[in-house]
Point group: C2
Chain length 433, copies 2
């Protein structure tokens, strides 16, 4: 980005206020990666907390001793030793043989992203309805968009997906003469919501979906990164059928190995394998070997504790800075784990319209509209506390608060148009407020 000033970027952002697509979020991350900007935008795990010397030694030995295997093709489903590791990891959240989980039904994928894409490829036809939390993971919305599916958002509150709202959404979809193929949900430490579904809601949501014959796609990247107590039992641990569980090693080990998985009912599993073979032939044997060796030979549960402690400190830094600096009428969630806080701005502010000034003030976030398929989320934004150290998080929140104060002042002085580049009239946010 040599030769491009921050103001150039600000201008480019100012020109693009009317929509925020995946490619815009990508561009945003490019700006946010400039060292002078405190980025609260990206969701990158803090992999520097890994024992890199030991991982390096492990990897070197792996290639020297088993390179002929680790550098070769493998089967499309992925290798059995890693599928066994995956079952061991899932057992921490109650997914084990007692609910029918088996390495035979695990399909290893390029991150959970590919798993979701495969599920969508197998199940979705253009025009199908997918239910998803509002807001929802931006990468999932990209998959559903590519599949030409219609996303119907189901509202959340501080306790995640609202069961009554799910029932209403199902009724409304049925009344429109269509059928929801599945519910896509992130029950733990939601991205971007930062909220977690309590036990009682889990059961009710499963019952609603079973009654409505709706498949549940349970996406659980952050489940082992809770800050208090034991991991919550997964939805999949409660039922044998009706749930496809998606997991990833991106947050518990490394996002750079791109290793995730789907645990699918037996009849679905083979379809996913066939779809994956058409897409990538087979997952990386190198990455599988690395992950397997890491989980078989290194103290991964201790490392999880290290990650939890680290992210909890950063969550604390974010929450205390929000409490100290945010203008009145701002609301935010209180994550019990994971990477993200979801903000609802005071009435009249637009997170996307505010973006150029935020970047100019050297702080970055992701505007809320990126997490909705329907243009909602103008008054929301996502703050990530996973990557910067606590003092930078505090500084970032301080800068953001200043920007918001300035916007509110401009607004009070000159009216709505001064701070609303889009010219769009404000609509109440359907988010987590």
């Amino acid at each position: 980005m040599t030769g491009t000033t921050l103001d150039d970027y600000t201008d480019r952002y100012a020109q693009r206020m009317r929509g925020m697509t995946a490619s815009e979020i990508r561009a945003l991350f490019a700006v946010a990666s400039r060292p002078e900007v405190v980025s609260l935008a990206g969701g990158s795990p803090y992999v520097s907390a890994l024992p890199l010397d030991a991982v390096g030694d492990m990897l070197g030995e792996l290639i020297t001793r088993h390179g002929a295997n680790a550098l070769q093709y493998c089967v499309g489903q992925g290798e059995m030793p890693l599928r066994e590791v995956i079952c061991e990891v899932m057992s921490l959240e109650g997914i084990d043989a007692s609910c029918g989980a088996s390495p035979d039904d695990v399909v290893i994928t390029v991150g959970a992203q590919q798993a979701l894409d495969l599920v969508s490829r197998v199940f979705l036809d253009p025009g199908d309805v997918v239910l998803a939390e509002g807001p929802s993971y931006v990468g999932a919305l990209g998959v559903f968009q590519a599949a030409q599916a219609d996303v119907v958002h189901v509202p959340m509150d501080e306790s995640g997906l609202i069961p009554e709202a799910l029932e209403e959404a199902l009724t409304a979809v049925a009344a429109s003469g269509r059928r929801a193929k599945f519910l896509y949900t992130v029950p733990n430490y939601h991205n971007p919501g930062g909220v977690t579904l309590p036990e009682d809601r889990r059961q009710r949501i499963l019952e609603i979906c079973q009654r409505g014959d709706v498949l549940v796609i349970e996406d659980n990247p952050y489940g082992l990164l809770g800050f208090d107590g034991d991991p919550l039992p997964a939805l999949r641990s409660r039922v044998r059928d009706g749930v496809i569980y998606l997991g990833t090693f991106s947050k518990t080990f490394s996002s750079g190995v791109r290793m995730g998985w789907a645990l699918a009912p037996h009849a679905v599993r083979e379809k996913l394998v066939m779809a994956s073979e058409a897409q990538i032939l087979c997952p990386s044997m190198l990455s599988q070997s690395v992950v397997t060796a890491y989980f078989q030979t290194m103290p991964w549960q201790e490392q999880l504790k290290t990650f939890r402690t680290l992210y909890a400190e950063r969550r604390d830094a974010a929450l205390s800075a929000l409490a100290d600096f945010m203008p009145p009428e701002t609301a935010w969630t209180h994550p019990g784990g994971g990477f993200f806080v979801w903000l609802t701005l005071p009435e009249g502010l637009d997170s996307k319209a505010m973006m150029p000034r935020a970047i100019h003030s050297r702080v970055a976030y992701v505007p809320g509209t990126g997490f909705y398929a329907d243009g909602s989320g103008q008054r929301n934004l996502r703050l990530s506390y996973c990557f910067p150290p606590p003092e930078r998080i505090r500084e970032g929140v301080r800068r953001l608060s200043s920007v918001m104060e300035q916007e509110l002042e401009l607004r009070a002085t000159f009216g709505a148009t001064a701070s609303d580049h889009s010219g769009r009239t404000d609509t109440p946010s359907p988010g987590l407020a």
Copy 2:
């Protein structure tokens, strides 16, 4: 596979003679991997020829020194240093700045397989026509099938795709009121054909496709593994537009890192990146770092010579064994590089029907029908010489020849049904005979 005898497999194969899908080929590879079987089925590169100690040291140091980067997410298009390496590699086949090639237009993918899948996702709608050589790479047929496209095979001879046949195919498709979206072609050391397109045909084929407004997908996994002389200039080196070039590191370095790429016209490149992000978010940073370090710091051109010498010896072993053992009326191609020989069996033999007896005689191959979308190829089979050492190749060809002799004897004694489990009447092979 404990507790399952070879005969069980033979029986299972005997039950499945009527069709051979990707999953059957997968099952075949599982049988073929038994140590007593000489597998001439798989296309695995002989990665043991790599300097594994040195690669292991390189990888260990990479993680120890740069793990925070190598174990992290990256951009969806893939990282610039590897895209520069890719341009250096492509320049060996004449693809360079003079024909408009640039790292900006390279998209890094999970093997060339994902690149082909992305191209298909971007260009193909259900019912579209794809032209492909007959026979064609089985993994490509899987992609086109997943895209619900219709594959029209264009015949080859010992010099690859026949330009006149391509013109006829285009005319026939147009006469049927449809349009061919693209030509998928493997010009060098074809999989499974083992043939190579000479210079004059390259130009003619490009002209035909330009005239017909047909995009060319040039898939070139084996181009740097020619046994005589310099690499042939790629189709892409002759034109700036109209060709999407697919490459891979699977055969020049490691198949286990799953690293390939597409070089696409600028307008297409961004679409491929968007599609890839929806599919896998980003390619593995670990794999990218490993490949980049290997090509930047190790003597990769020397290693290519090692691979070429090794595969040339194995090709020689295959060809001399075929000449020594094969029954009369058997024909085969004479590959100048790559991994594969394509056989045409004497009239009356069916490669799929013969499969159980071949496995029973402890030799494996891939029946020709796997390489056609239209059920052709009964009298053909693919022999891979890339993985077993020369003496095993010779033994495998000897075993296969015996099986064929027995089949021919049975046929002479009892008539067609004795050796034709499918009950299908023989049709002349449209293959490379």
